[in-house]
């Protein structure tokens, strides 16, 4: 008789490959090396999380262009801002929680106010770690969206991460990007998908209901679209990886046609994608039914990723049922 191994929090040291069929190893680190081979002005920094943000690959390849700052996130951003003002393109890595909670003023004043060319790369977004409130970046998008001049990106998967890196290296301004690290799921087909800064991408056409998602939740949203289709519901799926500037045009053009939308994000349901969408809809004077899938107003428990995803109703089924409810309400 065999006993299934218990799911434990310790699995957090790998990336969230929950539900993934295919993965790529350290796509950020690999993409940064490629970008840095082409552009000698790219430098790397970390705050004692090199191995855990995949930038150790860059450090091994370009040791003279890499700066270990130690556990000092304010200084991480400060030093990066100083390097950018000397004509370099610094990529600074830490976790979402440490970058945004500990170094907020340094991002706002040191980087954003003067449009410094700093790229903040932040790991463990939302529920991608089993550690609890200390490590789960549940409100980072809300904080970063509130800073003028800052571009905010939540990539879906390894394909998109690899595409974002050279684009933000070219873009002259401050960027906050959420990072997926280690073994990262491949969801989007690199032959078909191309990231564009500030542009949402319509991944599925549909007429009954719209799903608008960001970050890794787009993988689950894609599966939800298939489930819905099997149940006779036609769902459109718009993937919004750039949260700021927000692609209002694409969002409004979809919602004018399909005024029923489920927002899906690996983040607190306030301040992130759902709020950006609500702002846009209000400003446009559009009447839209909205259901929000995301993290509720709480610090989340620690636990294994599958447990957390179910506990906080962040799975494919939760997206599909929210969409179905909207459609049924419409029919009623």
């Amino acid at each position: 008789m065999s006993t299934a191994a218990p799911r434990v929090t310790g699995n957090i040291l790998s990336s969230d490959t929950y539900g993934a069929e295919q993965t790529a190893n350290a796509p950020f680190g690999e993409a940064l090396i490629r970008a840095a081979e082409a552009n000698p002005r790219i430098v790397g920094l970390t705050a004692d999380l090199g191995k855990y943000t995949d930038i150790h690959l860059f450090a091994n390849r370009f040791p003279e262009r890499f700066f270990q700052i130690g556990m000092a996130e304010q200084n991480l951003i400060g030093v990066a801002a100083g390097l950018s003002r000397s004509g370099f393109i610094p990529f600074a890595t830490t976790y979402c929680v440490f970058a945004t909670r500990r170094a907020y003023d340094f991002i706002a004043i040191g980087a954003a106010l003067g449009h410094a060319n700093v790229k903040i790369i932040a790991g463990l977004p939302g529920l991608t770690t089993g550690y609890g409130g200390t490590h789960q970046g549940i409100e980072d998008l809300a904080l970063m969206r509130s800073i003028p001049n800052l571009t905010v990106i939540d990539p879906c998967d390894a394909t998109e991460l690899s595409q974002v890196v050279p684009v933000i290296a070219e873009y002259p301004g401050p960027v906050y990007m959420r990072l997926l690290r280690g073994q990262v799921p491949i969801t989007l087909d690199p032959a078909k998908y191309q990231f564009e800064l500030g542009k949402a991408k319509l991944l599925c056409e549909g007429n009954d209901v719209a799903i608008i998602s960001t970050g890794l939740m787009t993988a689950r949203a894609l599966k939800a679209v298939t489930q819905l289709r099997d149940n006779g519901v036609s769902a459109a799926l718009l993937h919004v990886s750039t949260l700021k500037p927000f692609d209002k045009e694409s969002v409004l053009s979809l919602l004018r046609r399909v005024p029923r939308v489920v927002t899906v994000e690996n983040h607190f349901i306030t301040g992130g994608l759902a709020s950006a969408l609500a702002d846009t809809v209000v400003d446009a004077g559009l009447a839209v039914q909205i259901r929000r899938v995301g993290i509720p107003d709480c610090f989340c428990e620690s636990g294994s990723i599958p447990y957390l995803v179910q506990r906080y109703q962040m799975d494919t089924e939760n997206i599909a049922s929210a969409a179905s409810e909207l459609v049924e309400k419409q029919l009623a």
Binding site: G70, A72, N75, G82, G110, G114
Partner: protein, 289 residues
Amino acid sequence: MNGVEVSTQESSIASLEQRAVSLRRHVLRMGERVGQGYVGQGLGIADLLAVLYFGELKYDPNNLAWSDRDRFLLSIGHYSIGLYGALAEAGVITADELDTYGADQSRLEMAGSEITPGFEMTGGSLGHGLGQAVGMALGARLDRRPSRIFNLLSDGELQEGATWEAAMAASHYRLENLFAFIDCNNQQADGPPAQVLNVEPVHSKWESFGWDTQRINGNDIRAIVKALEAAKKIKDKPHAIVLDTLMGKGVLAFEQREKNHFIRVEPSEWKIAREQLEEGAQASKKRSS
């Protein structure tokens, strides 16, 4: 030291002292326009700025973006009144623009920022300058540029933890091209640091963080020049020069104020202030001649 060096030094010190008086005139001009502000800090730091902008810094007022320039980073944004004076004296901005200090739509904000030509970064939210200075020093080294980075911070600013994060990084990376001046004027918003939150012993703090450290009278131009010369001889370490300064230096009425972090001055007092500055300048000129 041979005779030639001494006489060169003497003449340049006399001219730096004249520059410091000019800087103080600019500070009073700005203060009088708005009737209040950080006049005490501007007067107190004029000697350092005179030495830096007319003796030490390599920069081109007509090409501020020159990549090999030395950088001066003002952490303490409210000291901008002093830096505006130096930039006007150096020809980076016009002296007439000083009359817009603190006015709506002016480039000369009371808490200075990088919108002003010659400002390398935005200070004011304290604790930002030294970290950016570390980044610039690393950048200069990586590019093999001769640029040196100078950062002015204050005694009160030592309470900001970020200052010590940056101090640790500077010595870890052995940034000999980085110079920090710590202005100890013994006054922060809520009173003297000794009452607000003690920052002493300042000298041994920097020394224990691995910095080449000196502590001098920051209103003595000769001492500032000498300290810089000594610091430049020390390799493999960043340099801290702790300056004991007198707020309001050069204007007796302001020197004697007890609380002078942000002063309000009656219109009638400005004439007295200007006269005291000129009298003091004459007396010190006489002393040194």
